[in-house]
């Protein structure tokens, strides 16, 4: 039955080459931890992606309760954490995932660096990877404000001061982020929410797509 449905679709759309390219791509021995245990260092990139998927899913569930305004933000997080069924787990996974994704991405960067995998012909993929790193740090910075508790506001205050010290355009960046030249308040929270939930994920998806298309195109770098 399933085969017949598959054939029916394939006859019309020729879907076999699309997924066969991903399914059949060769995984060489030197990156396979089943053959060489030390090859676990090649798992860091995959684990980073795994946590990213968990971040997306847990984040989607968090927005079902979270309210991005100064009156209700903290209350909604408190409610989510203490009253909602499994809310503590969902928020916990998003909170710890944010740290773990940085750790895993850092280890992945070090693996690529120390195996010299960024060299020709993989320069472009390295640059896209550094871009992903920056976007992830941006997600961490903007997400830290959203619970609207004391540590969030004061850490963001410091962060925005640092952004404001950029020569020439610092003041503009500050107003763009905070929504006001002096106040860190309601505007800042809604802007950080929009950046954290819409702008940066959109950039992240584009960069991740480029990262994966490039690695499928070129294959993984050879053994040292």
């Amino acid at each position: 039955m399933l085969n017949k449905i598959y054939d029916w679709v394939d006859e019309r759309l020729d879907i076999t080459p699309i997924w066969r390219d991903i399914a059949d791509h060769e995984v060489p021995e030197h990156v396979n931890p089943a053959h060489h245990f030390s090859a676990f260092v090649y798992c860091f990139g995959g684990l980073t992606f795994f946590i990213t998927v968990i971040q997306i899913l847990s984040g989607m569930f968090l927005t079902m309760y979270y309210v991005p305004d100064v009156v209700n933000a903290w209350k909604s997080v408190y409610y989510l954490q203490n009253e909602v069924a499994f809310g503590e787990i969902v928020r916990g996974m998003h909170h710890w995932g944010a740290s773990l994704v940085i750790v895993m991405m850092f280890l992945h960067t070090l693996r690529v660096f120390f195996t010299g995998s960024y060299k020709k012909p993989r320069e472009l993929n390295w640059i896209v990877g550094v871009g992903i790193f920056c976007v992830m740090l941006g997600l961490g910075f903007t997400g830290y404000l959203l619970p609207w508790d004391m540590k969030a506001v004061f850490a963001t205050k410091v962060g925005i001061q640092i952004a404001a010290s950029v020569p020439f355009i610092g003041e503009l960046i500050k107003i763009l982020l905070a929504g006001d030249a002096t106040i860190l308040g309601a505007q800042t929270l809604t802007r950080f929410f929009a950046i954290h939930v819409f702008f940066l994920p959109a950039v992240l998806f584009a960069l991740l797509a480029a990262h994966f298309i490039m690695i499928r195109r070129q294959g993984i770098s050879g053994p040292l």
Partner: protein, 265 residues
């Protein structure tokens, strides 16, 4: 795809009926070593690694609930700010003399900018064909130095931070939760006016009598008027002695007012 004359564009599909790819796995017998297919062979192993990782991740999640401090009060001037742990090394960098104050731009922009810029342009700075770390000493040394500095700065930041104060300033109070004791405050009484006129009172115990960082809530206290007057005169715990600015009669009125802030039975 057929090009040129004879191509029918309208009502035609690019998928040809008898030109489809057969759905057969690739043969790996000719590949070197133990090369294997991504799906299903390798993905199964990756999933096992992922499952082990997920167990650790979930244990972390259930063992350490994610932190939440009291609701934001941007007017609090005594709060010691602290970023998330992976920004601590930058936070620490900005404490050094030549990376802060008039040199702020060095610590905040130039050093991080150079580091990220060099990282992004690595393929063009290290162009040689050698891939082994031992065969390219400069890039290896710079990266090890960068990692060591990040670890050192993070360590310094953690070691010099007052974690007790951080814990104390983040506590969620009954006031935050809207759980103040059921006390009726007579805002027309002379005691209330004296309280509001004393900067040293409202500075710590709050204009709403609900307490603040390190100062207890006065609503629902269990002291007598004599005890209150005694504490105001001589101080107690973190409260300094002799902070009250007024006559003894005023102090007596204030003490009676505060002692009257009892919770209803």
């Amino acid at each position: 795809m057929h090009r040129g004359k004879g191509m029918k564009f309208v009502g035609d599909s690019r998928v040809k009926l008898n030109d489809r790819m057969p759905n057969i796995p690739k043969d790996y017998s000719e590949y070197p070593g133990k090369t294997e297919a991504f799906w299903p062979d390798f993905l199964l192993k990756e999933w096992m690694v992922g499952a082990v990782f997920l167990i650790g991740y979930l244990l972390l999640t259930v063992a350490h609930p994610s932190p939440l401090e009291g609701p934001a009060d941007p007017t609090n001037a005594s709060y010691i700010p602290l970023p998330d742990w992976y920004f601590l090394f930058m936070y620490q960098l900005l404490k050094y003399t030549y990376a802060s104050g008039p040199y702020n731009v060095i610590g905040a922009i130039i050093i991080p900018g150079l580091a990220v810029g060099a990282l992004a342009l690595m393929p063009f700075l290290d162009k040689g064909p050698e891939r082994r770390p031992s065969k390219r000493p400069l890039p290896t040394a710079f990266m090890l130095l960068a990692v060591a500095s990040m670890v050192y700065l993070t360590w310094e930041s953690v070691a010099h931070h007052d974690w007790e104060a951080t814990k104390a300033q983040g506590v969620i109070t009954d006031k935050d939760l809207g759980l103040l004791p059921d006390v009726e405050v007579d805002e027309t009484s002379p005691g209330y006016e004296i309280y509001q006129s004393q900067a040293s009172c409202i500075g710590c115990h709050g204009g709403d009598l609900a307490g603040g960082t390190g100062a207890p809530m006065l609503l629902g206290n269990e002291l007598t008027a004599e005890e209150v007057a005694e504490v105001v005169k001589n101080g107690r715990g973190a409260m300094p002695a002799g902070a009250f600015d007024g006559t003894d009669e005023e102090l007596q009125i204030l003490a009676e007012f505060i002692a009257g802030l009892k919770e209803k039975e």
